[in-house]
Amino acid sequence: MASSLLRVALHRVVSHRSVHLTKVRPSMVIGFGGPVQLAEDRDPNLNPIFHESLTNPIPDKPRTLKYTGDLATLKEMEVGDWKKLSVEDQMDLYNSFFGASIADMCRGQDDWKSVFGACMIFISFGLLLHLFIHLYINPPYVWTTLDEDWVKASIKRQIQSHAGDITGYSSKWDYANNRWK
């Protein structure tokens, strides 16, 4: 969980989209289940309870509560004509307001590969243990039920109990004369 959050945060830094003003994605770091943030480490300009998802695509409050520096000038330009803002400026405003795009929210994750790999490791360990015990620890299997005496005794018991009297052994036994039909 934390590794995937860090991976997304790092990728935001190196993405082809311009993120030269906002490098870290606190929306990925702060929130339920995220790492604990001390009060002195938290950026006071950022919204600590920012949450956006596919079910809540328009958050209640923006990610950045107080704009400083270059973002403040961009915020003032936002009130004016949007045509004066370049694509990079507009993307900076977007990244300051939101944490991730809808496409980012929609994409799948590949955590299942790690989980699958770990499960296979544990399962294979168990199977190897089974094999070891079977080969070196358990005594060899003795198939007593395939002895000739055992089979004959079982057939005799079936005939005595009339088991299989339609299609089994009892149907081929002549009870009146005590012999096979």
Partner: protein, 151 residues
């Protein structure tokens, strides 16, 4: 259908009115959220034109702010239909009125998400919205690079 075309034709005059608008101070308003739904009962039959007009009039409210826009647009998004281009245009101009550029970009993203795999519907909406986007200074989701996934 034709009303929406007429509305799109009024693009050029609209922006000049918006730029000169002043910020409206927040007041306590009794807000009844709009959610125009078509019921299966024939007693409440809403035609497409009425539906579109109702949504456009919602986004042209004088007391529109971020909260009201959020509620209204989420209602629109949760409807079982892709919004008409005229409604999306009204929403974009509402974002312009509240001076919120990222929200307009989010609106475009959500419209694209609503179209799902119907590329023809999305192309039609973008084609109809192109004059408004140029007027406002917005670009489509693809031109921003917001449809591309990192990694």
């Amino acid at each position: 259908m034709f009303r929406s075309v007429l509305r799109l034709a009024q693009v050029s005059t609209r922006f000049n009115q918006i730029v000169s608008a002043k910020v409206v101070p927040k007041q306590a308003v009794s807000f009844t959220p709009l959610s125009v739904k078509k019921y299966s009962s024939s007693a409440v039959a809403v035609t497409d034109e009425e539906h579109t007009a109702a949504w456009i009039s919602f986004f042209e409210r004088k007391d529109l702010d971020y909260v009201i826009f959020k509620i209204g647009f989420m209602n629109l998004y949760q409807e079982d239909s892709v919004p008409e281009p005229a409604i999306v245009q009204a929403a974009l101009y509402a974002c312009r009125r509240i001076n919120n550029l990222p929200l307009a970009m989010r609106v475009l993203e959500m419209v694209k998400n609503k179209c799902d795999d119907r590329q023809d519907i999305y192309d039609y909406i973008v084609q109809e919205l192109r004059p408004s986007l140029d007027d406002l200074g917005l670009k489509t989701v693809e031109e921003y690079g917001l449809d591309q996934v990192l990694d």
